[in-house]
């Protein structure tokens, strides 16, 4: 279960971190294998197996403050939510990708992991990236390359859930979905 560990979201949802590169079509089983979650769903325990079938060395080298930078269709396959909580447990608070599978995208927002849909082609391993949120509008700044990338926008409900820190604190506070007619 996710908590606030490892988050670097401040009140404006700005994120700053080191880019860690992943490819296209990284499915949730590559993030964390389903055969691990039948023994435990504790994200801190699952952290040891992050990316084990995809790139074990990368998984082991992820540190708090890293930002995942991926290609298309990130988080495809199973809708299992440990594929988000394990990323949060590793201290990653943001994923930049050209596109996301929708269940992963929703699960990310629900656990305070900021998903940003943007053109990630120009970002290299180790680049320092920052994400700025202005009234739902996202901008990614690649500090290492001194470039800015449009990150699209988050709908009001998604922004509200993300800013609350996830769906759990959101529903604890409101008890229901609010502000949508």
């Amino acid at each position: 279960m996710s908590d606030s560990a490892g988050t670097s979201l401040d009140k404006d949802c700005a994120v700053s971190g080191r880019a860690r590169l992943l490819g296209d079509d990284v499915n949730t089983d590559y993030i964390i294998s389903s055969r691990r979650k039948r023994v435990t769903i504790d994200a801190d325990e699952l952290r040891a197996y992050l990316l084990e079938d995809y790139d074990k060395a990368l998984g082991e080298s992820v540190v708090a403050g890293d930002v995942f930078v991926a290609g298309t269709n990130f988080g495809c396959g199973s809708a299992m939510e440990v594929a988000v909580t394990v990323v949060r447990a590793a201290g990653v608070s943001c994923v930049l990708a050209k596109s996301f599978a929708r269940a992963y995208y929703r699960n990310a927002i629900n656990n305070g992991l900021m998903p940003v849909i943007c053109d990630t082609a120009g970002i290299d391993e180790g680049d320092e990236v920052r994400v700025f949120v202005d009234q739902g509008r996202l901008t990614v700044r690649n500090v290492s390359k001194n470039t800015e990338i449009d990150g699209g926008s988050l709908s009001p409900i998604m922004l509200d859930i993300l800013q609350a820190g996830g769906l759990t604190p959101y529903l604890r506070e409101h008890g229901d979905f609010v502000g949508i007619t």
Partner: protein, 425 residues
Amino acid sequence: MNRSYPATISEKIMSRHCGRECRAGETVVCGVDAAMATDGSAPMAIDYFHAMGGKEVANPQNLVFALDHYAPPDNPATVALQDRIRDFTKRNGNVIYEIGAGIGHQLMIERGHVRPGMLVVGADSHSVEYGAVNAFGAGIGSSDLAAVMLTGKLWFRVPESIRVNLTGKLRDGLDSKDIALEINRVLDPKDASYRTLEFTGEGARSLTFEERMILSNMSTDAGAKAGIFEADEKTAAYLGMSVDEMETVSADANAVYAKTLEIDLDTLTPKLARPPVGGAAAEIVDLGDDEGTAVDMVYLGTCTGGRKSDLENALRILQAGGGKAPGVQLLVTPASDRVYGDMASNGLLAEFLKFGALMMTPGCGSCCGTCGAIPGDGKVVLSAANRNFTGRMGNPKARVYLASPEACAAAAVAGRITDPRKFLS
């Protein structure tokens, strides 16, 4: 509901559930008619529910738990996860299907939890299967499921739809799985993402209800949010209803679609998904391209290949070919206990046993490698399941190909990938 503009099935079902007329692109909060979680997703949903301050489940009778991913479990930690679901269910009065009852998606439809026009979610990506019933079915995570448990509602972005027009009729030896793989091959995941596939045309109407379940199920593997059919007399017969009882939802003639996909069933050829990518980006080829590849294990089962008609189609090839080749392991997982019972009473089970099939407990079986037999290092599997990325079926060192139950049976007979039509006169 009187509408001021033409609408897709998705727009109509969402409008019905959010209490106002809505259209693609809007964000809405919808009442949820039924929700499903498996032993793979429910324990986490229960944690979220409690963390959200949940005390009582909204609409407890509409919450269904299926113990299908670990059926049966092979270690105490997994048993403990399942026991948490049993305890929760006992306290809250939810529906639970025990180990051996079958795959959650099959049970949701077979046991009448999904009806035409409903909005149903499941904490499992293949919950899109409910679209075969003319319901809006979508896969969600455990936290969203917890929100449904807490409030009976969920927020959605009303999806745009892609019209999938099926023309012609499936030829002998071809299968709905071949259509699903063909859709996956021609549809760019970028186009499918966040959108519903709405199946229509004479080809869609010609499919049996079980064939439609396969196409709806694999919509998610093509990258779509949902995959919906219209309801007809075949839907009614499967659900044990009369046509008049169904609250069928159809698209308006001039509804707006993001795209139309034309699939001609008359000219369709057997398809194969190669390892290792899987999912929307899977490498899908004509089965003939890989004909002759030696196969060690053949898997019949799962929510895309474990129903009565799938097993009958496979058996027909096995019988025509005179049984399986020595050395090939043939695994069979019926999709539900009802399917297993039918197999026993109509002679199917005896035939499979005669051919040396290993029968497994109804449920997810070997599909995701969380229970049942797993392939060895370097082994090649041909499976009637829906996914084949590295590590699927529990061993990252095995190679899993996907094809129709007919093609799986043909591979079992020949010991190598073979066009199933060769066994049909």
